[in-house]
């Protein structure tokens, strides 16, 4: 049997999951895997990026152990960007001039940070927050005791703000939506979150649009101007206002893009070219991009199963479940957190004294869990998330107490 070549363009968390799945499930050694990664290092845990500002080293974040790196079926080329593809010849060309033939090509190019095109967005002192190198640059530029502004109050923006705090700066978060983490949590959860974040010394400006970044006499960013005229001092500005898919290969390859960008793929993550797939944040699965890692991991698994001939299941979609845990602040949203399903019932418990807020979203039958929001106390998160889409196994009050998740089983 001839050995076939899988080329993976991109070595982020999702590209790496594909590699792992291939090495684990390709029991007959039919595939050779070539990974071409643009970043100068092998895949790392990007979700844990902020831990670099809390004592971790890049090695701590590395995803590939010696067993994977030493596997003879894998060739890994970090610092190598794919610049072109000849679909007829089935070869990829890289920025170092090399050419590699493929039997299957999986695009896992990820995304780039979105930087709002306001005046001053590219001044020295403005940063994004995506790679180990970005964090190193922020660390080098940090001025303890000075103000900093993070543009974007989502998961990443709050991580960045906490990172700046750990660097001794006084961060403020500017968010367009009326509350923090508006994609994952509702207004009540946002209220608890903002209170906790402010108690950490991080300023919060919601419903605020960025107008411009202003420069000081040295030509570096020194302030941020908001649309309402507010001016915030900022020795450093970090953009964490969402991401855009890295789909620039679509045009040269003649591949279709989704309405909001991303390589358009079907439910099996396959492009219109039967030899090319796309997974992770660069993929528009049936037109929809997913900006979190877990859906990307599922896509990687879907594609690996196809390649090793196990069939498997198409990508089933994924909810926007996310949990944030920063020093003393815990919030989570899962499933239909905003109760968008027709007929959804919302059940909310709030204790302002204790600083906790919990919402459970149920289907119209009052029994099926659709999603929820937890703030201040997220002990119930793993069990509730696992029950999402299923019938409740106990009253929400009991589940929210969090006692069903840990410790010895309840006496019954």
């Amino acid at each position: 049997m001839t050995t076939r070549t899988l080329v993976v363009a991109g070595h982020g968390m999702v590209g790496h999951r594909l590699v792992e799945e291939m090495l684990t499930h390709d029991r007959h050694g039919r595939w050779r895997v070539v990974v071409l990664g643009e970043e100068p290092r092998a895949a790392y845990d990007r979700v844990a990026l902020s831990s670099l500002l809390d004592g971790a080293t890049p090695d701590d974040l590395a995803l590939a152990g010696p067993d994977v790196l030493g596997d003879g079926r894998l060739r890994l080329s970090p610092g190598t960007r794919v610049t072109g593809v000849d679909r007829r010849a089935r070869t990829v060309t890289c920025d170092d001039g090399t050419e590699t033939g493929y039997d299957a090509l999986v695009l896992a190019t990820g995304s780039r940070p979105f930087v709002p095109p306001v005046p001053g967005h590219d001044l020295p002192g403005c940063f994004v927050y995506r790679t180990v190198e970005d964090v190193a640059a922020i660390r080098a530029a940090a001025v303890p005791g000075r103000e900093a502004v993070v543009v974007g109050g989502g998961l990443l923006g709050l991580e960045a703000a906490n990172g700046l705090r750990l660097l001794g700066m006084r961060p403020r978060v500017v968010e367009m939506a009326p509350w923090l983490m508006a994609q994952q949590i509702d207004e009540g959860g946002g209220r608890v979150l903002a209170g906790a974040v402010e108690r950490l010394g991080v300023g919060v400006h919601c419903s605020s649009a960025l107008h411009a970044v202003g420069a000081g006499p040295d030509g570096r960013a020194d302030r941020v101007e908001l649309a309402d005229g507010t001016v915030l001092d900022a020795a450093l500005v970090v953009f964490a206002a969402g991401v855009r898919p890295r789909d620039e290969l679509a045009a040269p390859l003649g591949l279709e893009r989704g309405e909001r960008g991303g390589f358009l793929v079907d439910g099996w993550c396959r492009t219109a070219d039967e030899y090319i797939w796309a997974i992770g944040e660069c993929a528009a699965v049936e037109g929809r991009c997913h900006g979190l890692v877990v859906p990307g991991l599922r896509m990687a698994e879907t594609v690996a199963r196809q390649l090793v001939g196990e069939g498997g299941q198409p990508f089933a979609g994924a909810d926007g479940s996310a949990k944030l845990k920063l020093l003393g602040v815990e919030v989570a949203g899962f499933g239909d957190a905003h109760a968008r399903a027709p007929g959804a019932i919302e059940y909310v418990r709030e204790d302002r004294r204790a600083g906790t807020y919990a919402k459970v979203v149920l289907a119209a039958d009052g029994r099926t869990l659709l999603g929820g929001v937890l703030a201040g106390d997220t002990r119930a998160y793993p069990v509730l998330r696992g029950l999402t889409g299923r019938e409740l196994t106990a009253s929400p009050d009991e589940l929210l107490a969090g006692t069903t998740g840990e410790g010895p089983p309840r006496a019954r």
Binding site: I345, V348, P382, T393
Partner: protein, 469 residues
């Protein structure tokens, strides 16, 4: 012999007079009422207005013959030094004990055109306060001013018969004293469903017969304007005789004013900082005062009362705060919102009991919650079942079923973990190696740990069904 003169012809005066006789009060009891007819059930006037109740059905039971009743007689002055009451028809009535039960009058909002003079409503404008207000409506649309309980009741009653109704309310949502915005959306939907046009966050700016102009310039056609804008305690005679008046005539725990011979009850009285507004409270005070005056002296302590807005066909209960609101002294709130099902509930809990709240749209929940609140009983552990009226049965013991995903980062189900356990992975680390569970974001660690404890405790090492040995 102690002569009691009761000023006022409403339900409070009626109940007090009846009870004084019943309790064997030895002296004369005189009721002086300004309305031309004996006391009637004021709270049901809305039903007269919408035609479901005949005006003569409002009457309260006739008072015993021992009670001297003066109807259509106004009290013009109280002379506390001489202990007499002077009436508009020139009589002078001596008293040993005077009870003010003068009630309240509709509050007229300061909108140009509503009044033609002090206390004189313009043509087409009326309150829903007296039986006279329930004469047939003029032709054309009705504009209800005020979206509190009375406004909602009135709009609901009128819209039943297809009457064109618009409701104007300055707050952003209905019944804002009792409901939050999410809760108020439910009665708003009821009204809208019957064709009532809601103008929330709007004030009337001007009235001329036939139309109401709103503060945003909108013009509403108005055959009739109904004032549901609250009431003002009738305190003129108390004030004129030098008694302390704040929101109402101030009384102590014996329902006494500063003058030990003068009492006040019902909507005109202010007890413990609150002016009454419901007939139930007025009756409660009348009962209490009857006991006090007949020597069964016992301080008045307001009981818990629920407010049941009259919206026939739709259930709603408001539970006013039981006792003063002390911030930070509650266990928090629990709420239910079912937009599609038209249900809402919000309870403020204190010490495991209901301190305040509201329940809308679910007859069983309205009944169950009201009962717990009125009896001040502890709430059950399953509050969702309480608020939805569900059976409280759940399929399981609170843990995840086997087929549920435990580790979402690595797509590991409970069954996969159990299989790994039965294949020899007997601790968290071994399970992580075997399944990758817990190696992603780590959120599922607590569940995996619990599974370990459960399986170890079960001492059960037999393979799960379908497990690979």
């Amino acid at each position: 012999m102690t002569g009691v003169v009761i000023v006022g012809g409403g339900p409070a005066a009626h109940r007090l007079a009846a009870r004084l006789v019943q309790y064997g009060h030895p002296g004369e009891v005189t009721v002086v009422g300004a309305e031309p007819r004996p006391a009637y059930h004021r709270a049901l006037l809305g039903s007269v207005l919408d035609g479901t109740l005949d005006a003569d059905r409002l009457s309260l039971p006739a008072l015993p013959a021992e009670v001297r009743q003066l109807t259509g007689v106004r009290v013009s002055a109280v002379d506390r030094a001489r202990r007499t009451v002077r009436t508009g028809d020139g009589r002078e009535l001596p008293y040993d004990v005077l009870v003010l039960a003068t009630g309240a009058r509709p509050r007229v909002p300061p909108v140009p055109g509503l009044e033609t003079g002090p206390g004189r409503l313009a043509e087409g404008v009326r309150a829903v306060r007296t039986a006279a207000d329930c004469r047939p409506l003029s032709e054309g649309p009705v504009v209800v001013l005020g979206g509190g309980i009375r406004g909602v009741e009135t709009a609901w009653a009128l819209s039943r018969t297809g009457q064109e109704v618009a409701l104007v309310h300055p707050a952003g949502h209905l019944m804002e004293r009792h409901l939050d915005a999410a809760g108020a959306a439910v009665p708003a939907a009821w009204l809208a469903g019957r064709g009532v046009t809601l103008h929330l966050g709007r004030r009337a700016a001007e009235y001329t017969p036939g139309k109401v102009v709103l503060d945003d310039g909108q013009v509403l056609a108005a055959g009739t304007v109904l004032l549901c804008t609250g009431t003002v305690a009738e305190t003129a005679s108390a004030r004129a005789s030098g008694l302390e008046v704040r929101g109402g005539v101030v009384v102590d725990a014996l329902l006494r004013t500063g003058d030990p011979r003068v009492h006040a009850i019902g909507d005109c009285a202010e007890h413990a900082g609150a002016v009454g507004s419901t007939v139930l409270q007025a009756w409660e005070q009348a009962e209490a005062l009857a006991r006090i005056l007949t020597g069964r002296e016992r301080p008045y302590a307001p009981g818990r009362r629920v407010l049941r807005p009259r919206t026939p066909g739709k259930d709603m209960v408001v539970l006013p705060p039981a006792g003063p609101d002390r911030p930070g002294d509650t266990d928090g709130t629990v709420s239910l919102l079912d937009r599609a099902g038209g249900r809402h509930a919000r309870l403020v809990l204190r010490g495991g009991r209901i301190h305040a709240g509201a329940v809308i749209g679910s007859p069983s929940a309205v009944a169950a919650v009201s009962r717990l609140y009125l009896r001040d009983e502890p709430v059950p552990a399953d509050l969702l079942a309480l608020l939805t009226g569900a059976d409280g049965e759940y399929a399981g013991d609170g843990t995840l079923p086997d087929e549920a995903v435990v580790c979402h980062c690595n797509n590991v189900t409970g069954k996969a973990l159990k299989d790994a356990w039965h294949s020899g992975a007997h601790d968290e680390a071994a399970l992580a190696r075997a399944t990758r569970a817990t190696t992603g974001c780590g959120s599922c660690t607590s569940v995996v740990r619990r599974l370990c404890t459960t399986l170890a405790g079960a001492g059960d090492d037999t393979p799960a069904e379908g497990a690979t040995p």
